[in-house]
């Protein structure tokens, strides 16, 4: 059975990031984990937030284009010349 008096599902989902970031105080952490232990819906939700982070992490960072890199290196050489 879910202990609905401590923390509702609707409240729990708003604490998921605090939980994952280790930002819950001891009392909230206990309420969070107690609720989770008895609630399939919230366990699934937490799981999906972890999945979301993992899948977002597979996206490719924006690579530097060759043209931009050439321009930035040229800027460095110009700077070097102006300071020496």
């Amino acid at each position: 059975m879910i202990d609905t008096e401590a923390l509702s599902c609707q409240e729990l989902v708003e604490l998921v990031t605090d939980y994952l970031e280790g930002a819950l105080d001891e009392r909230d952490l206990r309420a969070f984990e107690t609720h989770l232990a008895g609630c399939d819906g919230c366990t699934e939700y937490l799981d999906q937030m972890r999945t979301t982070m993992r899948v977002v992490g597979t996206l490719t960072p924006n690579d530097l284009t060759q043209a931009a890199e050439t321009a930035l290196l040229q800027a460095f050489r110009d700077w070097k010349r102006s300071t020496s």
């Binding site: 879910i2 609905t4 509702s8 599902c9 609707q10 409240e11 989902v13 708003e14 998921v16 990031t17 605090d18 970031e21 930002a23 609630c39 399939d40 819906g41 919230c42 699934e44 939700y45 999906q48 937030m49 999945t51 979301t52 982070m53 899948v55 977002v56 992490g57 597979t58 996206l59 960072p61 924006n62 690579d63 530097l64 931009a68 890199e69 321009a71 930035l72 290196l73 800027a75 460095f76 050489r77 700077w79 070097k80 300071t83 020496s84």
Partner: protein, 209 residues
């Protein structure tokens, strides 16, 4: 790269092009993502990144090491981007970046929970999260859905989730680069991840619950 900040700064001041090229490449993606908070298009963001490096080189002699070099470079980027946006009189609500709590937003649609006065389970799931099948998560189309979901986020949320989850930065690095409080960084991250999760759930379960 294994250079310490001090060694890196010394190398740059000494005109070490390899050291410079290494950080230009390593930080580029993050710089571009932060620039996009303040700029309307990718091409303006590209220009802001270019201008940032010119300013960094010009100010290198004045770098005192009170913050990390990376934080310092990102601060210069933010200033450059803001100046640029002001010059083009585009009204980007900078304040929204610093006080996300002014606009309350639920991570999950409130309609998916039972009412607060429900006799047995107030605030419990009425429509629990639907499955995210693993085999479809890794499909190319799903990644496009995620890219689009991130693109559709408010700029500050987009920046935080991009830096944390795409670029793999720590919370501290993000807070320093964007000058965010710990709480605001977390609120922005929470909303961003909540929206992307919802986009995934909706895409992978096209039938209404």
């Amino acid at each position: 790269m294994t250079l310490t900040d001090d060694e890196l700064v010394d190398a740059l001041r000494a005109g070490d092009e390899e050291a410079y090229a290494a950080i230009v490449r390593e930080w580029h993606s993050g710089l571009l993502r932060v620039a996009r908070i303040f700029t309307p298009t990718r091409s303006v963001a590209d220009e802001v990144v270019q201008e940032t490096w010119l300013r960094v080189l010009g100010a290198l002699d004045r770098f005192e090491g009170r913050s990390s070099l990376k934080t310092w470079v990102f601060r210069i980027l933010v200033n450059t981007a803001k100046t640029r946006a002001q010059r083009e009189s585009r009204s980007i609500p900078f304040s929204a970046l610093h006080d996300p709590s002014r606009v309350p937003e639920a991570a999950v649609d409130p309609d998916r929970f039972l009412a607060d006065d429900h006799p047995h389970h107030p605030g419990g799931w009425e429509s629990p999260p639907r499955e995210l099948p693993e085999d479809r998560l890794i499909a190319g189309e799903t990644r496009e859905v995620i890219e689009r979901a991130i693109e559709a986020l408010p700029a500050s949320q987009r920046a935080v989730i991009s830096l944390r989850d795409v670029e793999g930065w720590s919370s501290e690095e993000v807070r320093n680069a964007l000058d965010l409080s710990e709480v605001n960084q977390r609120v922005l991250l929470h909303r961003a991840r909540g929206r992307v999760r919802q986009a995934l759930e909706t895409y992978l379960n096209p039938e209404p619950a």
